[in-house]
Amino acid sequence: MSTRSLTAVVMVLIAVVGYTRSVAQETPNLGRLATPAEVAGWDISIPPDGTGLPPGGGTPEQGAVVYAQKCQGCHGEKGSGKPNDQLVGGQGTLASANPVRTIGSYWPYATTVFDYVRRAMPYTQSQSLTNEEVYAVTAYLLHLNGIIGTQDVMNAQTLPRVQMSNREHFILAYPPPR
């Protein structure tokens, strides 16, 4: 056993002992302490500040290749839609009789694109893309919507800084006004 894994085992033991001592047995306490590695494996959600974004990065150009292979069949050429959701365009339509809600016209956070593509796309092969591919496709879709430039690299530092045009047009109904 390596020093590192021995240290991990000791840390878990300390945590388990501390846990069983510190919690009153008023409830069943049947949960098992999760290791940091376990939590890291499960935790795939990315909030707007980018916490948890993995290493790596991608450009619109790289994303175009991934998109053509993995996304275009459902979302059309360059995100034009059909048979499934349109991903590009629609700016200026939200107050019209036929609003077109896309990443460009509607989505308030760029991190959501990464989070969703990684967890749920392609539809028939969820969580099959590498982080590099997810960054690249995200970059491609943002570029098609005119939000980032051709050369912009999307990574853990740059993605949370992307400003989405519709961001300020959401009104929070919760928490309720005091």
Binding site: T27, D115, A120
Partner: protein, 433 residues
């Protein structure tokens, strides 16, 4: 057989309660239909027995019936009662919704097999022995629970409705959809749900209960996820393991789902695998790009969690054609994500006059409530409406008022008063009136 009495001898005369034939709700409450038959209100004369009637000794009385069965099914004669208006995204078979045939049901409970479905990537086939729930984030002790462990926790049981926030969406359209009640409004169902209060598990994990948000994530292929206020988690949220007495159906989240009483359906994350305590909302796809309410001015409401007070007449309704003038029961559901139904008013003259319907017990918070109204149909065209009021005093709005406030681009949270037009031939049509 009861001797026919003249109307003047009726112990409880059928007095009108509102225009166009609505009768006092106490008729049904106090006396039931037997009295109405005796008092001469029922339409038509009794049909004399003739050769067309069933025989005195039907076949099923002459031989022993079927053997016992391991798990019962509805009568085969009811095979047409199925989920309805099943729609899936192009190229998919399980990314969309199916609806409860509301007009075929009575009482307050939806049979589990008819509970509406809304899936974002099909129904996962989850082996409960392999399923885990992780609670982590702003906690002192991230914990992993097996399903077996969750089943050992103290549980609560409640009757609660569940409604997809996209329910009734076709009613935002310019013309009234020519669909049945269930096809339009059937993204609402009601079950008894049993499970473990979320608060217990959060406390065991040493969660920071002052953290404002959680993320809930499902184990479907969309890893469907929504942010949930900690206040709701600590108030009445629970992890449902049982539905109508049995373990959850796969399409309702087996082996465990989040349940948030009164909140829009998709937040009640099915196949729950992860809860993360967070300092901010995660802003997932489904709480930003989808379940947000686009207003007429192009701005959008986000985090509109509770389903608002609503009701709909299920009988009569389109496809349930009236069989000639006479006495009918008008019946339907009312519900509110903000509390308990206080009253339901019914109109048979398009909203000119209203009378209060009888509510069938139990009347429970955040549950479907069955209402009933006696109606003497003259045979002339009529427009039926129901209007619910909850115990916060909120009254179900008219369609005009709802659209004036929010526009027609909202897609979600449609809760306006429904109007059904009764034609002279007894057919029922969806109308904007």
């Amino acid at each position: 057989m009861a001797k026919r009495r003249r109307p003047t001898q009726d112990p409880f005369p059928a007095e009108p309660a509102a225009g166009n034939g609505l009768l006092d709700r106490r008729l049904f409450l106090a006396h039931g239909m037997a009295l109405l038959g005796a008092s001469g209100l029922a339409a038509g004369a009794a049909t004399p027995a003739d050769a067309a009637e069933p025989p005195d000794r039907p076949a099923w009385m002459q031989f022993p019936g079927a053997p016992f069965s391991g798990y019962g099914n509805p009568a085969k004669y009811e095979s047409k009662v199925t989920r309805t208006n099943i729609q899936s995204q192009p190229g998919t078979t399980g990314s969309g919704a199916s609806r409860t045939p509301l007009e075929a049901l009575d009482g307050m409970i939806t049979p589990s097999g008819l509970h509406f479905e809304r899936h974002h990537s099909g129904v996962p086939d989850i082996d409960p022995d392999q399923h885990r729930l992780l609670i982590h984030g702003l906690v002192q002790r991230p914990l992993i629970f097996t399903v077996e462990a969750l089943l050992r926790y103290p549980m609560v049981s409640h009757m609660y409705f569940l409604e997809c926030s996209g329910n009734s969406r076709p009613m935002y359209g310019a013309t009234p959809p020519a669909l049945t009640c269930g096809q339009v409004h059937g993204l609402v169902s009601c079950s008894e749900w049993s499970g473990v209060p979320l608060r217990i598990l959060l406390e065991e994990a040493g969660a920071d209960l002052n953290a404002p948000w959680l993320l809930a994530e499902g184990a479907d292929a969309a890893a469907m996820s929504r942010s949930v206020p900690m206040a709701k988690a600590l108030d009445d949220a629970f992890l449902a393991l049982y539905q109508n007495g049995e373990r959850l159906r796969p399409e309702n989240g087996y082996p465990v789902r989040l349940f948030l009483p009164g909140y829009e359906g998709n937040m009640n994350v099915k196949w729950l695998r992860r809860i993360k305590v967070t300092p901010t909302p995660t802003m997932t796809k489904d709480e930003t790009s989808k379940y947000t309410d686009l207003q007429a001015d192009g701005k959008a409401l986000m985090f509109t969690f509770p389903m608002q007070v609503k009701s709909v007449i299920t009988r009569p309704s389109p496809s349930l054609t009236l069989q000639g003038p006479g006495l009918y029961e008008i019946s339907g559901f009312a519900w509110s994500g903000n509390g308990t139904i206080k009253k339901v008013d019914v109109s048979a003259d398009g909203g000119r006059t209203w009378a209060e319907a009888a509510l069938s017990a139990p009347v429970l918070p955040r549950a479907l409530t069955r209402f009933r109204m006696a109606w003497q149909w003259s045979g002339a065209p009529a427009v039926l409406k129901s209007r619910a009021t909850d115990d916060t005093g909120t009254v179900q709005p008219t369609r005009d008022a709802l659209l004036a406030a929010h526009g027609t681009n909202v897609s979600y949270h449609y809760n306006a008063i429904q109007a059904w037009q009764i034609e002279a031939n007894g057919e029922v049509k969806n109308v904007y009136a």
